[in-house]
């Protein structure tokens, strides 16, 4: 069982997620491939963390380790003060391809993880979360009848239906068109404010990372390492045309520029 004990003397417990010296290797054709190297990340309750990096930099693996879908051997990964040993109801997850089960109606998809509840409680939870994401009129629709943005809303509702303390989002808006994406970014911020859920989101969209993240984790590729964690200004980062927004953007761009062009000197000067 997980609980949210706080300030019990152990410093680790003030963090909802605590990752220390995490290394991860995969065996490909019996050859070890280093995926993550010395990852250190602490997430506080109610924070919104965004992770940006090249595709293949191991950020999805990192997220799956956080929720317990992928095992780790080397380092510490704690959720709510306990070492992660597998998926748990306190940790929800939203994938890029919404992964709604096509044979279930939206209400049943949202209630998919609520097996432990009574029928009435389950119905109540489903209704509540469909309202939260603005899909209460689509409870009896099938996923194929929904647009991409609506499907992703339903997936978010499913991720939140268990009332998790943490919601992990793996490029949830990556497949949406630009306008829907901006709409969804506003929605997820509203939901986070309403629910107070701690969120960790992977994205390859730098604007999205700045707009949503209280802190932005910049990762390099092969092996995945944290290059920097940028703390954003809570007001200025929500204005896409502010000077500070542009500065964050430049800073993150430069990391990737350095990565691809290998102009290390330039990066050091900045």
């Amino acid at each position: 069982m997980e609980n949210t004990r706080q300030n019990t003397g152990r410093t680790g417990n003030e963090y909802i997620i605590n990752i220390e010296h995490l290394n991860k290797q995969f065996l490909v054709d019996k050859q070890p491939i280093e995926v993550l190297r010395d990852i250190n990340l602490q997430v506080k309750k109610g924070e919104f963390i965004t992770i940006v990096g090249h595709s293949g930099c191991g950020k999805s693996t990192l997220l799956k380790i956080m929720c317990g879908l992928v095992s780790y051997e080397d380092g510490t990964v704690e959720r709510n003060g306990h070492a992660v040993a597998g998926p748990g109801p306190k940790c929800g997850m939203v994938f890029q391809d919404h992964r709604l089960l096509p044979w279930l109606k939206i209400k049943d998809n949202v209630g998919f993880g609520l097996r432990h509840l009574s029928k009435e409680e389950k119905e109540q939870q489903v209704k509540e979360h469909l309202e939260l994401v603005g899909l209460k009129d689509f409870a009896n629709s099938y996923p194929s009848q929904l647009s991409g943005g609506m499907s992703q809303r339903a997936a978010i509702a499913r991720g939140l239906a268990n009332k998790p303390t943490i919601l992990l989002l793996d490029e949830p808006f990556g497949a949406l068109d630009a306008l829907t994406r901006i709409q969804m970014q506003k929605e997820i911020l509203r939901i986070q404010e309403e629910q107070g859920t701690t969120m960790v989101m992977i994205t390859h969209d730098i604007d999205e990372a700045i707009y949503l993240g209280n802190r932005i984790v910049v990762m390099s590729a092969r092996p995945g390492e944290i290059k920097e964690i940028i703390k954003t200004d809570p007001v200025e980062s929500k204005k896409r045309d502010s000077i500070l927004f542009a500065k964050y953007k430049k800073k993150i761009y430069d990391y990737f520029f350095e990565d691809t062009e290998e102009e290390h000197d330039v990066a050091y000067v900045i």
Partner: protein
């Protein structure tokens, strides 16, 4: 309007065949024992139905189909699921099954007759051998094609192995299992007729063979037409029934 046009187009070829048949039997010099006229076939149909013979034969054949089809449906879905869920079981069984599949259904008939005579059980066994493979193969492929992402969702919500099968793999495979069952039913009908033609003392296939030995080509043709019609009716009925089980499938088609 559109379906009306569709039916009209579909009727062109049958009408041409009927006209050619009419011309051949009215103006040609074919003996009636080779190609009877349409009038003769109609009379034979009335004769065979009025004394209840045709209905009786059909009933016997249909009961055999139902028994054989149910047995092959249970076996096929079970084996297909086991092999789809466990690569060990698949490695154990699939090579043998693939080899056995190559033997045509009619080639089993001599051996089955040696083993269990020409009674009911031999018919059911032959139907089973014929129908089990399309059901098994479609079940297996439906289970195997389940995206890993869905299985990951099941793991995320800590579903056990059995729940993962019933809540994720089985529903994903269901449309394809139903395709397999539909094919299996069609094959069952063919298998029962074939087995009755070769060795039987009752059933629609037996009736046809008996009519042939008496040079009653009109009765042979009545049987052929009835077999075709029953086949089509079973196919349409099972499609209608199965569409009820997979309401999400047609939605996907309509939305595209």
């Amino acid at each position: 309007m559109k379906t009306g046009k569709y039916i009209l187009v579909a009727l062109i070829v049958p009408v041409i065949i009927l006209v050619l048949w009419y011309i051949a039997t009215t103006f040609g010099s074919l003996p009636a024992s080779i190609l009877p006229g349409q009038q003769m076939v109609g009379n034979a149909f009335i004769e065979m139905t009025s004394n209840g013979q045709l209905q009786g034969d059909l009933m016997i054949s249909l009961v055999r189909v139902v028994k054989g089809f149910l047995a092959s449906a249970i076996t096929g879905v079970f084996l297909g699921s086991v092999m789809g869920m466990s690569s060990k079981m698949q490695n154990l069984l699939l090579p043998t099954i693939t080899v056995i599949r190559q033997i045509p259904m009619v080639a089993w008939i001599p051996l089955i007759i040696l083993w269990s005579g020409i009674g009911e059980s031999s018919k059911v066994i032959i139907i089973m051998i014929a129908a089990v493979f399309p059901i098994l193969v479609n079940t297996l492929s439906g289970i195997e094609s389940t995206p890993d992402g869905y299985a990951e969702v099941a793991r995320l919500y800590k579903l056990g192995k059995w729940k993962t099968f019933t809540k994720v793999y089985l529903p994903h495979a269901l449309p394809q299992i139903l395709v397999g069952l539909k094919l299996g039913l069609g094959v069952s009908w063919m298998a029962v007729v074939a087995s009755e033609l070769i060795a039987a003392s009752t059933g629609i296939g037996y009736r046809m063979n008996e009519a042939r030995s008496l040079m009653k080509s009109d009765k042979v043709i009545v049987c052929m037409i009835v077999i075709g019609l029953i086949g089509i009716i079973m196919d349409k009925l099972i499609s209608l029934l199965f569409n009820q089980f997979t309401p999400w499938v047609n939605l996907q088609k309509n939305s595209k």
